[in-house]
């Protein structure tokens, strides 16, 4: 009798779990939680941009300071050819400084759509300065198993017609509030870019990926990996870092 009861109990627990999993996720809330996990008031990152164009691989070391979603300053540390190159983003403007020319160039308008340093990312992709939860409306599509874990698939539709990608699809971990994979689509529905978020590690009270792998899906054999070696949240950033006066030797 006790044995039958125990079996019933196990069955009930399993059933309850599967019902809980199948329960619809509040997609918009999940997106907000994901944003809250990723975004911080200030960030300091040391990382490497590994650009593989199918023929050769280049590795660019960089250091970045970010304030909110609208200000960021990066400087390239290696290789020698790129050392001293600086990028400053303030709102929707991006300045590029190269020590070879000792000039700063404003990259705006359509120039932002060009590939950044020959990578799979455009300057525009790098400059994305709105929280995804504010720019998109999320819809829960269901659960799938992705790399051994249950993930919620969310389809994001742009709230405004001027968003570069009108549709995105994300594979999100509904428990840890992190994105594992993202595909950005053309208006027609053709997949254009894929981003994989790898090796989440706890930093302070957040989970942050150690690597982001970007792929331009219209090209083959190319990928750009953004590897983060050091991530600090809530750091004090001198105000001159977000001033154009920083763009010099």
């Amino acid at each position: 009798m006790l044995n039958r009861f125990a079996r019933f109990l196990v069955f009930f627990i399993l059933l309850a779990q599967s019902v809980a999993c199948a329960e619809e996720v509040d997609a918009q809330k999940l997106l907000e939680e994901i944003d809250a996990n990723l975004w911080a008031d200030t960030k300091h990152i040391q990382g490497r941009l590994i650009i593989d164009n199918g023929r050769r691989v280049r590795e660019l070391k960089q250091e970045t300071w970010m304030e909110g979603v609208t200000k960021s300053y990066s400087r390239y540390l290696s290789p020698a050819r790129e050392r001293g190159t600086k990028m400053l983003k303030v709102k929707n403007k991006l300045w590029l400084y190269t020590p070879q020319t000792d000039r700063k160039i404003l990259i705006s308008g359509h120039l932002l759509r060009q590939s950044m340093m020959g990578s799979d990312l455009s300057y525009e992709d790098m400059m994305e300065d709105v929280k995804v939860s504010r720019a998109y409306l999320a819809t829960f599509e269901g659960y799938v198993e992705y790399e051994g874990q249950q993930t919620a698939i969310l389809t994001l539709k742009a709230r405004k017609p001027n968003s570069t990608y009108q549709t995105r699809k994300i594979w999100a971990d509904p428990v840890r509030y992190v994105v594992l994979k993202e595909i950005r689509f053309a208006k027609s529905g053709k997949p254009l870019k894929q981003v994989k978020y790898l090796d989440y590690v706890p930093i302070d009270d957040r989970l942050f990926p150690r690597q982001m792998v970007f792929r331009d899906l219209l090209k083959t054999d190319t990928k750009t990996t953004y590897a983060f070696d050091l991530i600090e949240f809530g750091v004090d950033i001198p105000s001159r870092y977000f001033s154009q006066s920083i763009l010099k030797r």
Binding site: G54, G109, H110, L111, R113, A158, K160, P161, N162, S163, T164, Y165, Q166, A186, K187, S188, K190, L192, L218, K219, T220, D221, T222
Partner: protein, 389 residues
């Protein structure tokens, strides 16, 4: 009397006179050939530009510059009613946008050029697009030129991904199907250009009724919101190139002409040196120095007249033969010069008459110049052969 004597003397010069006449005749033929070839080249290039792109001028959105592709998307507007009322043979609406084709892992930046299908003003082989009347669904039909086909290795039936931005800046992409590869005589509308139906390009970019420019037959006065760009401005780079070519041609002709003039000058100089006794005799018989100068100048002038006659005899059959085959300029197909077909001579009667007159005049001048010294000649010294040393 002088003409009669001059003719006899000229004939007596034999091979020397024949060579002078031949060289001058060849220079006349070369001059007419090079000027007419340049005329033919210019006419063909301008015609090709005009029939494929320029027409009689463009009404453009102010500030548009074909050399600044990053601005193309911002410089469009709805076609004004004043222009949309024109007949199909009076205007051609064109919309130009930036796009990218992804071919074999390579990204090809392209100019997406949408042209009104009903237009009859430009001579563009767009028959295959004309048949694709349905709105864009799964793929966008495009036409490319042979040069673009060669560079991109795209052929009829190929499907590649095409990416562009809509009016709001959202990125979009679809498969593009190459429905035809056409020979375009103007490389400016071939290399790096993907041709679409105007309605298709408007549909996929959400630019209903918008244009970048309207090709017209000629200036139709002020049009609200657009500025008229005339053909001189639209063809300015080609016109400058041709003007430069014309300068170079004239320089080469000048050098050839100088060589011929030196030859005649040399002949005349030797003539008066070797024929001093003859000059002295003529003076002793009562001819004035001016009459003798006239005699020698007419002799020299006869070489120029002979050259013109010889140029007619040799030139007419040569030009007639040349006009059958033309001049192959296929080696220029890789350049931006809008000529692909063989070019033919275009004779400008006024230009030829001017050139021949200058050559004849110069020959007479160089025939006269050395014999001026006769005016100071002492008949007694000349008879001894010591007048000119």
């Amino acid at each position: 009397m002088i003409l009669k004597v001059a003719l006899r003397n000229f004939a007596g010069q034999g091979m020397r006179a024949f060579l002078n006449v031949s060289v001058t005749a060849l220079i006349i033929i070369a001059t007419i050939f090079s000027l007419s070839l340049l005329n033919g080249f210019q006419a063909q290039a301008l015609k090709n530009l005009s029939t494929t792109d320029v027409g009689g001028g463009h009404y453009r959105v102010p500030g548009f510059d074909i050399m600044s592709p990053t601005d193309w998307e911002d410089l469009t507007q709805e076609v004004p009613r004043q222009l949309s009322q024109f007949k199909h043979n009076e205007k051609a609406e064109v919309l130009v946008q930036q796009g990218q084709l992804f071919i074999n892992n390579r990204m090809f930046p392209v100019q997406l050029r949408g042209v009104e299908m009903g237009q009859q003003l430009l001579d563009l082989p767009m028959d295959h697009l004309l048949r694709r009347q349905q709105p864009v669904a799964d793929s966008v039909p495009i036409i490319i030129g042979t040069q673009m086909s060669r560079k991109s290795k795209l052929k009829v039936g190929d499907q590649v991904v095409m990416k562009w931005r809509d009016k709001h800046g959202a990125v979009d992409a679809l498969d593009a199907e190459v429905v035809d590869v056409v020979p375009l005589v103007n490389p400016r509308v071939d290399e790096g250009v993907a041709w679409l139906r105007l309605d298709h390009l408007r549909q996929i970019t959400l630019r209903s009724k918008e244009i970048t420019w309207v090709v017209v037959e000629g200036n139709r006065g002020k049009v609200e919101g657009l500025e008229f760009i005339d053909t001189d401005y639209l063809m300015r780079d080609l016109l400058a190139l041709l003007a430069n070519d014309r300068r170079n041609t004239r320089l080469i002709i000048g050098i050839l002409l100088m060589l011929a003039a030196i030859s005649v000058f040399n002949t005349q100089y030797l003539n008066i040196f070797k024929r001093q006794k003859e000059i002295g005799t003529l003076m002793a018989m009562g001819m004035t120095p001016n009459q003798i100068i006239r005699l020698f100048t007419v002799e020299g002038g006869l070489a120029a007249v002979g050259a013109v006659l010889m140029a007619v005899v040799l030139g007419i059959p040569f030009f007639a033969w040349f006009q059958i085959s033309g001049f192959d300029v296929s080696h220029l197909s890789g350049t931006g010069i809008p000529v692909r077909e063989n070019i033919f001579l275009e004779f400008n009667v006024r230009e030829i008459a001017t050139a021949v007159s200058i050559i004849v005049g110069l020959m007479i001048l160089v025939a006269w110049w050395p014999v001026r010294r006769i005016s100071n000649l002492e008949p007694t010294q000349a008879l001894r052969g010591r007048g000119i040393t």
